[in-house]
Symmetry: C2
Subunit: 401 residues, 2 copies
């Protein structure tokens, strides 16, 4: 079984049995393939008699993201398992435990999180997660600080950067976030109802200039080891627990890209409340919750990042009085810009979000799409002027007419 | 002879004989070790009967740069030979030809340039190189553009970045250029006569903030494959020819670091004219030549870089009207900031330049050092405001009272 091939459910069970300590000897295991089948096989393997369970995730050598299959390096399984282990070393409570990584089969065996739900689903159900902002803010501060030149030896960081060169997955981001939505590309996918607004975006040179700056930052700014795909579909939650999964897009990039991804997905759900809230009052209430959460994510991140800087900064000259605030302000600006890009692509580009796409009422869906685009555009255009996260709240509020 | 060990002159001859096409069979070769012995052995191997000659350069596993030896990866020989080959592919007339690279012996066999002299020596002798600005401007435009995300496939660029991870040599730059000169570090080396000025620099927070920004750019901005050490001691010249050598510091960094290195070394010689010019008139004349050359280097670079952008830019959204000028202005600012850092370190830091250090008259030498520091500081403090290269000329002129 050591040569790469996609496993069957029975093979997944046999494989799980070979890992010591997971299941009792002789247990009758059952397996269900629960992945969406686009990029990976995801087997849920359990022992009904004891309740023990694990996830076995295997990378497929292609992605089915553009209708036909798109070849994709199996090396992303290594990147995912190594990123999970680095994140787990920094925030053990916020990522699934990794039991085994098998390079030959491009396979990772990890903790089962079936008691959690995907956060996007929870937000669509208009649930409230009181611990989420504190958890994800800490995840961002810890993982971004300690993989950067501020928090780790700068020579070791270069070797780590080398370990996370990730061309195939970065190409998906570069094309689908930082290019295609701004031109009439084949991969785009949007409702005809908003074509007027999409065409306005295609011809908005001021917007394109800001996107070009942000794209250039994504291509060149090797600031920290990013998760690289930190949307609410990559986060498992309960009321008390948060688990970040699926870091297969991990690579060295601008910190604001990860922070912006979290903010963007809260704002996409904010826009989606056109369709999910039963009335104006509850819409307003849930939207306030989302904006407060976004603000708390940034505040927690900033507070903890500054604390780590004060305690653990290994870069002498960056400790010059005043440089921390210069640095954090730049992170805020990047965060806002990347959040805007992440929003726009989810309405115009190839990959959408259920927060908006699953709205049944066509008129509510169109309103949500237009609101998302207007927030996204405003964030992108404003990002280099921002001095406080409150400006994000103001933009979201002002665009909600 | 395949296991690594430093070669003797006789072994270098034997090695050269094994490479087909360099020397006639049975030629009586002679060898001279002409390196400074700090980082590398450099053998000049020639056949006096035919006049044929080559250079055999072998990396040593240590550097003698801080009194005692400092271990240094032999991988830099690979980096140097691979960088030379990339540069040679883009500007074949501006680098020595590589005949062979031997990874086991950390050794590169290359074209002999004994008909050229080291540019620093030429400038100290107050010679004029009418082709230099056009040559080095083209070298910078070609090598920086075509190794960046603008000029090459962005996935291939990531793999190339991985190929040029260069922690040992980057550490030398990070410490000796972007840290030690700004604090009372053991490695610093400066004349007691200028201690007052050095201590002013150690306590200049405004300066340190700008250096912290520039250092951060060096650590994170993976913009293009740099030569990494492009001072006038890494450039061989004649009146008609320019050859860039020694890219062992090559790595992916900010383009302005290479351009700034050239500018800085012209300005260091400018300051050194306190000691080298026989009278005020000839001093003024040679300084004008140096400033015009600096300006021509930038102008040639800018013109050719913009032309390459117009003809060969592979990055769609960066072709948005106006982005080229935004990008080039940032390059100018980086260039000025890095030029300033390169100047300051050559007066306060470990490694000095003969343009100033070899001045015999103590008073002239002190004037040169103070002038260099005041130009360097002004460039660093001004760099983020710059809009034209003329501001560099103005700073040099204004600081020359």
């Amino acid at each position: 079984m050591t040569q790469y091939h996609p496993l069957t459910e029975q093979e997944a069970i046999e494989y799980a049995k070979t890992i010591p300590g997971l299941f009792k000897d002789g247990a009758a295991l059952s397996s269900r393939e629960i992945g969406d089948g686009n990029l990976n096989l995801v087997f849920h393997i359990s022992d009904p008699s004891s309740g023990a369970s694990i996830i076995l995730k295997q990378a497929l050598p292609y992605a089915k993201v553009v209708g036909e299959s798109w070849p994709l390096s199996l090396d992303r399984a290594r990147i995912e398992s190594e990123a999970l282990q680095i994140e787990g070393g920094l925030c053990p409570d916020l990522v699934p435990r990794v039991y085994k990584y098998d390079p030959d089969l491009a396979l990772t065996v990890m903790e089962d999180l079936s008691d959690h739900i995907i956060m996007r689903k929870g937000l669509i159900e208009r649930r409230v997660y009181p611990e989420f902002a504190a958890h994800i803010g800490r995840f961002l501060a810890q993982t971004l600080f300690f993989t950067s030149d501020l928090g780790m030896n700068q020579q070791d960081k270069k070797v780590r950067l080398q370990q996370f060169i990730n061309p195939d997955l970065c190409k998906i981001t570069e094309d689908l976030i930082f290019d295609h939505p701004y031109t009439d590309a084949d991969t785009n996918s949007f409702d005809e109802a908003i074509r007027d607004e999409v065409e306005t975006i295609w011809s908005d040179t001021e917007l394109h200039l800001e996107v070009a700056r942000l794209r250039h930052g994504f291509l060149t700014n090797a600031q920290a080891l990013l998760h690289g795909d930190l949307h609410t579909g990559s986060i498992f939650v309960t009321e008390k627990s948060t688990k970040v999964i699926d870091p297969e897009f991990a690579y060295y990039g601008p910190m604001g890209f990860d922070i912006g991804a979290v903010i963007a997905n809260l704002l996409l759900n904010y826009a989606g409340q056109e369709g999910w809230s039963p009335d104006a009052e509850s819409r307003s209430e849930y939207r306030n919750y989302l904006l407060e959460t976004a603000k708390d994510v940034w505040s927690t991140f900033e507070l903890q990042f500054r604390a780590l800087w004060n305690e653990s900064n290994v870069d002498r000259i960056s400790r010059t009085e005043g440089f921390q605030s210069i640095y954090v302000e730049q992170l805020l600006r990047d965060t806002i810009g990347y959040a805007g890009c992440k929003i726009v692509r989810r309405v115009i580009g190839l990959a959408h979000v259920a927060d908006i796409d699953k709205i049944e009422d066509a008129s509510a869906k169109e309103r949500a799409q237009r609101l998302a685009l207007s927030i996204g555009k405003a964030l992108i255009k404003h990002h280099r002027q921002a001095a406080s996260f409150d400006e994000v709240i103001d933009i979201a509020t002002n665009e909600t007419r």
